[in-house]
Amino acid sequence: MGMTMTQKILAAHAGLDSVSKGQLIKAKLDMVLGNDITSPVAINEFHKAGFTQVFDQNKISLVMDHFTPNKDIKAATQCKQCRTFADDMGIVNFYDVGDMGVEHGLLPEKGLVGPGELVIGADSHTCTYGALGAFSTGVGSTDMAAGMATGECWFKVPGAIKFNLTGKLGKHVSGKDVILHIIGLIGVDGALYKSMEFSGEGLSCLSIDDRLCMANMAIEAGAKNGIFEVDEVVMDYIKDKVFREVKSYKADADAEYDQTYDINLSEIKPTVAFPHLPENTRTIDNVGDVEIQQVVIGSCTNGRLSDMRIAAEILKGKKVKKGVRAIIIPATQKIYKEAMLNGYFEIFLDAGCVISTPTCGPCLGGHMGILAAGERAVATTNRNFVGRMGHPESEVYLASPAVAAASAIAGKIVSPEEVL
């Protein structure tokens, strides 16, 4: 029996010729990631178990992104604990205010993840790096602690769902609409314990940012990981970032898939996920009248340069509707600077938006844009659970940067067509 892309990477890192679905393996790790919320728990466990050194000072990344710049004394204390640990252990890839970014924007940009590599992160959106052909998956803090100490992690080899992509994206449609469409199709546990593997001729029209966004939300379908076949788009992206030897894996022709979906990208419309689950999707022509009080454009899902560009193109020469707070959050310092140099900041400021330093901030209801009871936000983030962005009686609608920017102008959820 042939193997999927995911199974090949797992086999290679377990030192095995082949693995099969359901097999329990121990695999070697190329990168272990943590943030300012999950790392403190991992550090406590690491010390409690009596470990005194990490397995490789270059293969751990600690990114202070969730509650930074420190939102309160407790958050400051947690960051301080991470900083001290990084110093004590000699961790090379420690990113703090000034050189940080939202972790899943930052690691690809820094070349810390690459094709064929195996990455765990104590953050559920670690699945993002599947866009580069890596096996990457979210774990908890104890797994992170064990990974930091031993460089290994146990896995149950997953089965997979194949998404065969055809066609080309239409105007104002992006990777966000594709992944929301897919989650609407299969549900929030539609890929539970499984890999989502993306391939097909439609890949060629998807930018690296589209793919990072799609792989990022594989977890919202319950998946263990999302992974894209490596092509020249990926190789071109990593050529000035990753200088290690990398390996691209293609699924075998006889690889076993639990299901296969054919997705025609040409048929996908701008898509919005209604509260309180990412699977509650509606196409933009079916949203009705939903008035909003806040728009957030940013996050590990949609805080990349192309997201900033799309938002700027729509907001250029327009004004954010009175009564709407529009918050723009470039995902990394590099994206922030490029967006500024490209003139997007002037467009945002003239439109009445605010521009935040990189942070996860409002996405998880941390800070920098919390909702009151009864308020609604359109966000380019990844979750719309009860209370996700603030009060349990507030609502989050997930959408693309194009729809979010258009909605900021209209004061309600609309298609970009309606404001251009």
Partner: protein, 161 residues
């Protein structure tokens, strides 16, 4: 090993944001986390939960974030076991890694109601509903996972090797 307590019953897709909202993640203190457990879907949980109590839910329990604070909050609030039809995979790993007992059982999830007095035998996987005089059989853990649980968590099992 056995657990016994009254049941708190929830539905599908109980996510980690409602188990422990992110506004409380500026600490990893177990007691502080437990003080806000389930707050956004069940305001009374914290005041009513007693040591040994059991949470029963339906599909995809613990979906969303990787925050280990979620199983920690549940465990620290005194809950002895979570029974669901399925668990989100990161929550599943985290629960095992920190030593919170979890069991997948469709029948138990369907038949147990809030307030029922339920007993769980982890060695046999038998769940006894004393209120309804019924028993249900849960899937036993694979050996590999039993080793982690018996060592009282992942890090202890690594140290023991």
């Amino acid at each position: 090993m056995k657990a016994c307590g009254k049941v708190f019953k929830y539905q599908d897709n109980v996510d980690t944001d409602v188990i422990i909202p992110a506004r409380y993640l500026n600490t990893s203190d177990h007691g502080e986390l437990a003080a806000h457990c389930m707050e956004d879907i069940d305001k009374d949980f914290v005041s009513r939960v007693e040591p040994g109590d059991i949470i029963v839910a339906r599909y995809n329990f613990g979906c969303g974030s990787s925050r280990e604070h979620a199983p920690i909050a549940i465990k620290a609030s005194g809950v002895s076991c979570v029974i669901a039809k399925t668990f989100a995979r990161i929550f599943y790993r985290n629960a095992i890694n920190i030593g919170l007992a979890i069991l997948e059982c469709e029948e138990a999830s369907d038949k147990i109601d809030a307030g029922d007095k339920v007993e769980v035998d982890f060695d046999t996987g038998v769940i006894t509903n004393h209120t309804k005089n019924e028993t249900y059989q849960a899937e036993p853990f694979p050996e590999f996972i039993k080793e982690i649980i018996n060592a009282n968590g992942l890090l202890n099992s690594i140290k023991n090797r």
